[in-house]
Structures are given as structure tokens and as C-alpha cells.
Amino acid sequence: MGMTVQYAIILVIYFAGMLLLGFLFGRRVKTDQDYFIARGKLNAAAIGFSFSASQMSGSTYMGAVGACKTLGYNFIPAAIASASAPWFCFILGGDRIRKVASRTRCVTIADVFGARYSPAASLTSTIILLIAFIPMLAAQFKAAANTFEVLLGIPYWSGLVIFGGIVILYTVVGGMFAVAWTDLIQGLLMIVGFAILAPVAVTAAGGFGGMHARYAELNPGGMTFTGIMPAMWVISAFVVWGFFQLGGAPHAVTRFLIPEDDKTLKRALVYSILFQSFIFICFALLAIAGHVLLPTLERADLTVPTMVSQYLPPIIGGVIIAAALGAMMSTVDSILLIIGSLVVENIYVKAKKGEVDNKKALRIGRFVTLIVGLLGLAVAIKPPAAILWIVTMSFQLLASAFLFPLLLGLWWPRATKAGGIAGMIGGVLSCVIWYALGFIQYQSFSNWIGGIWPAILGSVVSLVLVIVFSLASKPSSQEVIDTFFDDIMVKS
């Protein structure tokens, strides 16, 4: 039996399992709140793994390993920063968002902005989220279909239909229940896969010391932090990929709306940080070993699949490939749910002034999720250049817009509606302008003036605007202050 056939068999079993989970959990969904956030109905492991799986995405196992293979230790600070993201997000945002959500019945992160600042802030954040997420959805579909094309040799179209069909179906049926539990299983598979692949790859590359000696011969600039990239680029990556995820990954931050008690959230943090730390240590080892073992590989993003096919038996390799595709699925399902919830909760329900029956809202939620998924698939057939451009900047755009309006909104009572909205809009605009200036200077969206990432500049501008506009405007009402800053009524 050929390797491709064995991979295909494992993938079929895996995908069938994901669909089965979707249908099983679909029975537990009774209301739109169950569907979008499953409040109080998921355990710590599911929340922790789901946060991590949504935040990491498929690119962690493909494109980012490839970048690290090429840049070596210039990219390693981004790896530990990514692993630290749950630490920053859970502590700086998690418990505050959970408490606010339990008081105001927030379903989306835009609801949190609405409750803290105003309905105008909710609408502003909804628009920014939709602009960033819809193209990202199409890009994830495209990446997954490309992976199918390369690994299994099936046409792009077929990959798109198979991958898109499965992930849309289980998300539409099972909602957050299915999304979180499939994320947990995908995470466990990834741990098993990397636990096998990393030692095999390092041994094949000459052991830990030998591997680094050989890497230094092949790519000496990659042995120090700033041997290839400017120091500001490396420092920006170190700050942005960890701390800035609080604003840049709202589809993962949505998980903080789920738990009803503090203990579950804290246990989820431990699961999440252990999972991500393990993955990113293996990530570093695989990237360095990958360059030693495959120095002439043209497509660096195929480092992990190529090592899998060369060093592992298909039965184990298939599990890793399934988990890598699963990582893409976990990002897609989270984005599908957040777009669906934004459209239903922040546009439809608001337009109806909240007078919508739970079951009707659930039906509309499923219908919108289906339509959004199909729209993403349609766009992914041939994505226009403008969409790929938005995808490139979406994370930095979101981080610029939301990091400080969210952080100060949760911790600084003096932050006001004017400050929140000015911070979001100013952050987005300065991020876009910094991208444009970088493009004018370097003809590239990946090079920025002085190596300073747009998210850094956008967030600094956003921070200044939140503070200045807040101090220059009337304080928020006592009701808002009590809701956000008085913990007496909230279960700890």
C-alpha cells in the first residue's frame, strides 16, 4: 500500500471522527449562547487546548517552522513569545472578561467593548473584526487546500471542498462544544506526533550538539538572535507574538467567556501554557534539524511534512499530518464561530433590540455560520490580491486596534467611550499607514521601517489615544464602573 494511500486512510478516519463529534455535541446545543460560547459547559482542558489551538493555527506547523528553519535563532524569540501568550492573555484579560461576561451575558468580544464603552464601540470593533476575519477565513481554506494538493496529490478544488465541507459541517452542527472538543483532540494528537518526530529528527541531524554545529556551518547568521534580521525586528517579534495576542487573537480570547468560575480558568491556563511550551520547544528543534536534514528544500513551509514522510512510518506520519490539518481546522472553526456570533449577536439581535427567541437566534446562528463558511470557500477558489494583503496584516491590525482599549477598559476605571473608540480607530489607521510606508520604502509588506512591526507602532498610538481622549472626556457612568470594577457580585 502506497504512502499517500495510508495517509489518506488515516485522514479519512480522523475527519470522520471530527464529524461524529460535531453531531454528538450538536445535541447538547439548546440556545444561541450554547452554540457560540457553551458558557459553563466545558472543562478546563477543553478551554485551555481550545484557546491554544485557535491561537496557534496551521501556520505554526507549516509556514512558521519554515521561517524558523531559514532564520534560525533570529526567529526563536517569536517561538517562546508565542508560548507565553496564554500567560499574558489569561492573567491580563481572562478573569476580568469572565467576570464581566457573567454579569452582562456577553457572547462576543464586541459585546465586552459595548458594555465597557458604548454601542458605538461595539459596532466599531465588529466592523474591524469582520474586515480582518473574513479574508483570513478564505486564506485558511486556501492554505489547507494547498496542503492537500502537495501531500496527497489531489486537485486544489477537491482539497477545498473536502476540508471546507468537513469543518463547516461540524462547526454548524456542534458550535462551540464541537469546536472546543475537536481542538482538544487535535492538540493531543500534535503532542504525540511532535513527541515522536522531534527526537527522531534531532538524532538524525547528529544529536543536539552535532545538529547545532552543522547548522552553524550552513547558516552562521542563524546562530545568534540578530545575525540575519535587525535587532528591532527580533525584539518586536518577541513582544508582539506573546503580549499582543490579547488584542490580536480575539477568536482565542473568546474562550474567556466560557467558564463560570475562576478555578476552571486558572486550570485552563496551566493546560494551555504546558501545551504551547511543549509545541514550541519541539518547533525550534524541528526547524533547526529541518535545515540540517533538508538544506536544499525549496519550499521551507513543507519542512515538517517532508521530515514526516522521510523519517516516520506512514501510520505515525499520518497522525501528524492530520493534526497539522486539524490546527488549520481549529483556526477556521473559531473564525467561523466568531463571525457568526458577530453577525447574529452584534448586528441582528441589536437590530431587533434584543427581542429574539433563543431557538430562533440559534437557527439564525447556524444559518449565518453556514453562509459565512460557504462565502469563505467561494472566495478561496481564487482569492483576489487585496484579500491576501488584508490577511498579511490582519493579526497586526487586530492587535493595534484592540490591545490597549481592551486592557485599559478592563483595568483602568478612567478609560472612557471616547478613549476606547479613538484607541481602536487610531490603532488601525497608524498600523495601515506604517505598512504603507514600509511598502513605499521596500516594495514589500513584510519589511518595515527600522524593523519596527506595525503592531508595535499601532499599539503605542492606540495607547496614547486611549489615555489622552479618556482624560479629556467625562468619566464613564457609575453603572459601567460597578459592572467592570466591583467584584462583590461575581462568583470567584
Binding site: R96, A231, S277, A284
Partner: protein, 62 residues
Amino acid sequence: MRVKLPGLSIVLMAFFLIGGSIALVVPWKQGPANLNWGAWIIGYIGYAYIIIAAIIHARTGK
């Protein structure tokens, strides 16, 4: 009861961000296994720091 900042975690986060950023630009001596000490700390040992810091917060809330 007004909200309390998780003071210890914020100090540990500030040390991670500031100390980590400085560690990226200072010269490091060669360490074991053909790797300099900076790469050891940021690339591998630093994970113990964030894991322990997260566990401290989970256990104490600080």
C-alpha cells in the same frame, strides 16, 4: 471590593519582556552543545520561567 491587580504576575511579565528584549541584543558567551548562553536561555530554559510563573498565578492568584 475593587479589582486587584495580579501584582506578582505583572512584575514577572515586565521582567520577561524587558529582560528578554535586553537578552536579545547583548553578546553572549559560548555555552554547551555549540550554542551560546542567550540561545539556551531564550530558546529553551525560558520556557521553565513562563510555566512556573503561570502555575504560581494559578495557585495563588497573584
